[in-house]
Amino acid sequence: MGAFIIRRLLSTLLVMGLVGVFIFLLLHLSPGDPAAIIAGDNATPAQIEAIRTSLGLNDPLHVQFGRWAVRVLNGDLGISIFSNVPVATLIAQRVWPTISLAFTTIVLAVALALAAGVLAAWKAGSLADRLVMILSVVGFSVPVFVVGYLLIYVFAITLRWLPVQGYSPLAEGLWPWASHLILPSTALGLAYVALIARITRTAMLDVLAEDYMRTARAKGVGTGPMLFKHALKSAGVPIVTVVGIGIALLIGGVVITETVFNLPGIGRLVVDAISKRDYPIIQGVILLFSGVYVIINLLVDLSYTLLDPRIRY
């Protein structure tokens, strides 16, 4: 077990190193020149050159990468080319809306998806099962921004039940905070619910067909405990795997959802930075999101032993 954790940690570090190289190369080999953008339209070539030198953009690529990597390892993500504010500070300022959105979405989506998946497997072939399956295909196909604007149109503009856009910090009250997150979480969570409900149904169908489920039933275990205590726990490994892999889907969705609902989070930060070619912000945010994805999937791998005692590393 210890050896497995160490091996898994090492491979995680390797992956993160590769991610760093990819992001660095991608942004530095592309044709946009941040020095020319900073200098403005009327700058002379000499001025642009001076800015390039001061930013260190004229050094060899591996020197630039080395300098960047050392700084990142020290927790320094660089300074925004445009606002002159450290990227880490900008991310810290924007982190709460994103965490709120991700947290509410994951909690709501997983709860709903497990319930729907278990129901569909338990009543396999019934109308409820058909409905869950149809909704899961549809939910996987409708893009976040289409659902988002549909929700805004119905619940915010027409019915006026919820605010159209924006964010309210938790410190200013629970309801204002929650009311700003209901629609974004629903829009963002739809594809995630579809994904998890589908795999929950499949995994539960396999488990429910096992002999030990019939034994449990014969011993007099009630329907509720049978489904949620015995079966769902056995079906846990594939479900948790998909919850982890689905985080990638969620991260992409966060960027779009924050744009649709005008949430001042990290997704908006990167979208704004991209239109200005603000390299350090783009690098910092992609690195952060990739790190979150890699760490969550590390935790998923480690959680297998808790869910299934037969798995030993």
Binding site: G17, V19, I245, I251, V271
Partner: protein
Amino acid sequence: MTVAAAEIARIPNRSGMWHFVRRNPTLVGGLAVLLLVALAALIAPLIAGDPIAAKPVNRLRPPSQINWLGTDQLGRDVWARTVYGARISLVVGLSVAAIAMTIGLLIGLLAGFSRTVETVVMRLMDGLMAIPAILLAIAFVSLSRASVSVVVAAIALPEIPRVVRLVRAVVLSVREQPFVEAAVASGTRLPKILRRHILPATMPPLIVQATYVAASAILIEAALSFLGAGTPPEIPTWGNMIASSRVYLGLAPWTIFGPGLALALVVLAVNLVGDGLRDHLDPRIARRM
């Protein structure tokens, strides 16, 4: 004729087309929708007016006899723009699937046969997969000049690792099969083994995967256009139509209806084709998560 014989007589020809349709409703339904959309995109000039011409006098008109789906903030016909928008979505979906499959297949075959290639390539793929696809694509597109080919490349790149993994997994399992061992033992050369035994085995899962890649490519292209990091803004796409109509959502909800519904419908159809193909080609293949 007895009752039983009459029953038998009514059973349709098992190899007939109708039988295929009955057995594969999702596959046929999805294909029908896609063919219809493809046809509309192809004959767009015949069934829709000018998607570009702005007529400010007509702006934000609700759906009518002349403008079936209304007009947008510049007075352009939403129906015409939706029909022309299908072109980009279909082209991007098809090209991304073709490129990701071809490159992924080549790398996957190599990785399945060479230990050294496998170690290096699979680590690289792990790294690439750790970057959220949409962010990678956004960064790629917005840092180059906006064009359809850049968008295709940007969307195809993050899809490649998933294809490589799939192909490698198939190669690794087929390689251990007795018929491959027999071929090796009888002195068949590697290229022939690849062509005769390995390649055919990768095809069914690869074709299914291609449809899911196409669906995700269409979604990501729309997302890129929506965020303003996609194809040049003068080309009508479903994504940039939705982006420009969002300001007028309360005033003119019809501007979002056409592109939103078209996008959802096409992605749904591609996913249905994928599910249908999966069930038809090999019921054991798990859906890609």
